[in-house]
Symmetry: C2
Subunit: 297 residues, 2 copies
């Protein structure tokens, strides 16, 4: 059975009625499983995670996008997180028996449908991007809703992949395909934010560190600690243990130690199995030695 | 769906026709999945791993035991591995939605059936044991087939839990329930067998080491290494990382390093997830953060 995960982000994190109405559009589609809904009031944004077979997932997220377009007015939206649409971004993630290429196909089909039927401009991103300057979300979101509203009409570089070159109150939506993302934070026993910031800078791709790693320093005041907070965009390219070992080493150079870590949200089993293999130095391990993998065959 | 794993050990590792005939008895039962057949010529023994719902698994292993009783003559059996029956040992292992207690019940039902219908003496072992001196296989197998043949008739301590106090050419069978066992070996960069033996002695339960750990030193001549070879009988009691870290430390004291490790056969996912959690110092990790666990709910 082909399984794809979809994690649409909606620009509403405060009004429970609106969030529920959008989520219900997903729930009403048979054979999709809702895994998680996380709403953030400061960001004024909700992240919904669900899974199912490709056609069912596409249908569910289309309904949710249509509902969000009706209920969210981007002219009134305020929140800390950068955004440009009521349904801001829709990534598809291959889970089992499905290739990245198929997920890219799915993103393109959905993008066309949203553009044609809902008259919402759609940009393709990540693995589905049609241009190098549309691979990363920050590049696509430049100027956010307010900036894009003017620019989309005049700047050919901002012409969407699907839909009109004009924003309604639903804004624009970014649709794409990507590998499973891991949100992983490492805590250090110092209250010196500079240490976390320095290490974050060393390991993140944007400042010359590891590929597909985003990292940022944070202070955790209530514990008197600092944190290197990361998104690992593809653990097959840069593994969890690679960043962990580097942070450990860099912390040591600064007289600091790792006191703990956190995995936020969901994580693919293989990402953790890779960690166990690495630290135990297991030779010739095959993933089908895992009992549970045999069961699902 | 209740799932139980069964790993019967048969005293034939050389004659493929006999092995196939026994395995076919398992295959012919609907809804059980054959996971593995490993035959060892030196041990003259085959280990079969299969899985399914309790009643199906019980039926399949009963058929296989009946077939082994017909095809294997213990009076003619020779091999390095200690044994006392054509079907030497039958462990049930709880996999999902089933308790250890239910597996003990299954072992008792099967033991009674083998005793009553096949007239084979059955000893209950591990979690199903009825006496402390029948928990461990080496205690039950004392004297092996040849020794038990005489003793069972006269020594009340050897009276089986089910079946007659007399051995046919099928010998006696041990039936029980246990947690998943992990076969885990650690390689050290020395050719001094004494180092592996000393460390094995330190960590195994029988000489005062960790609970539910069996360990032995081996030489791997072709690589110029020695190996600490282990069975971890219950990773929830003694984890893989506990033995690994201890071996690492003890090796270091002796000027030696771990160069690699091996997992032989199947391993439960959670045993490796525990390893990742430990080395990454993950705080508050919940197993349901693993994507694949959500899918099977």
């Amino acid at each position: 059975m082909k399984l794809v995960e979809c994690i649409p982000n909606f620009s509403e994190g405060r009004d429970k009625k609106i969030i529920d109405a959008i989520v219900n559009e997903i729930k009403k589609v048979k054979n999709v499983s809702l895994l998680d809904v996380e709403s953030d009031k400061d960001h004024n944004r909700s992240v919904v995670t669900f899974i199912g077979e490709p056609e069912d997932v596409k249908k569910a997220v289309f309904f949710a996008t249509a509902k969000a377009a009706k209920l969210i007015d981007m002219n009134k939206h305020k929140g800390e997180h950068p955004r440009m649409g009521a349904t801001d971004v829709i990534p598809f993630v291959p889970i089992s028996d499905i290739t990245m290429k198929e997920c890219v196909g799915l993103a393109k089909e959905l993008g066309k449908e949203i553009g044609d039927k809902l008259k919402i401009p759609v940009y393709l991103y990540a693995e589905a991007a049609t241009r190098p300057d549309r691979v990363r979300l920050p590049d696509i979101r430049k100027g956010e809703y307010e900036g894009l509203k003017e620019e989309i009409k005049t700047n050919p570089d901002r012409k969407p992949d699907f839909g009109p070159s004009q924003l309604s109150s639903a804004g624009a939506t970014t649709v794409g395909a990507r590998p499973p993302l891991i949100a992983f934070n490492v805590n250090l026993n110092t209250n010196d934010l500079q240490v976390a910031n320095d290490i974050a800078k060393l390991i993140r791709e944007s400042s010359g560190g590891f590929k597909v790693v985003q990292a940022k320093g944070f202070e955790i005041k209530e514990r008197g600690l600092v944190q290197v907070s990361m998104n690992l965009l593809d653990y097959n390219v840069t593994s969890i243990f690679k960043v962990f070992d580097t942070i450990k080493e860099e912390a040591k150079k600064r007289g600091v130690e790792i006191v703990g870590s956190e995995v936020i949200g969901l994580i693919p089993m293989d990402a953790l199995i890779d960690v166990a293999e690495h630290y135990l130095k297991i030779e010739n391990f095959k993933k089908d030695q895992i009992l549970e993998k045999r069961l699902s065959e």
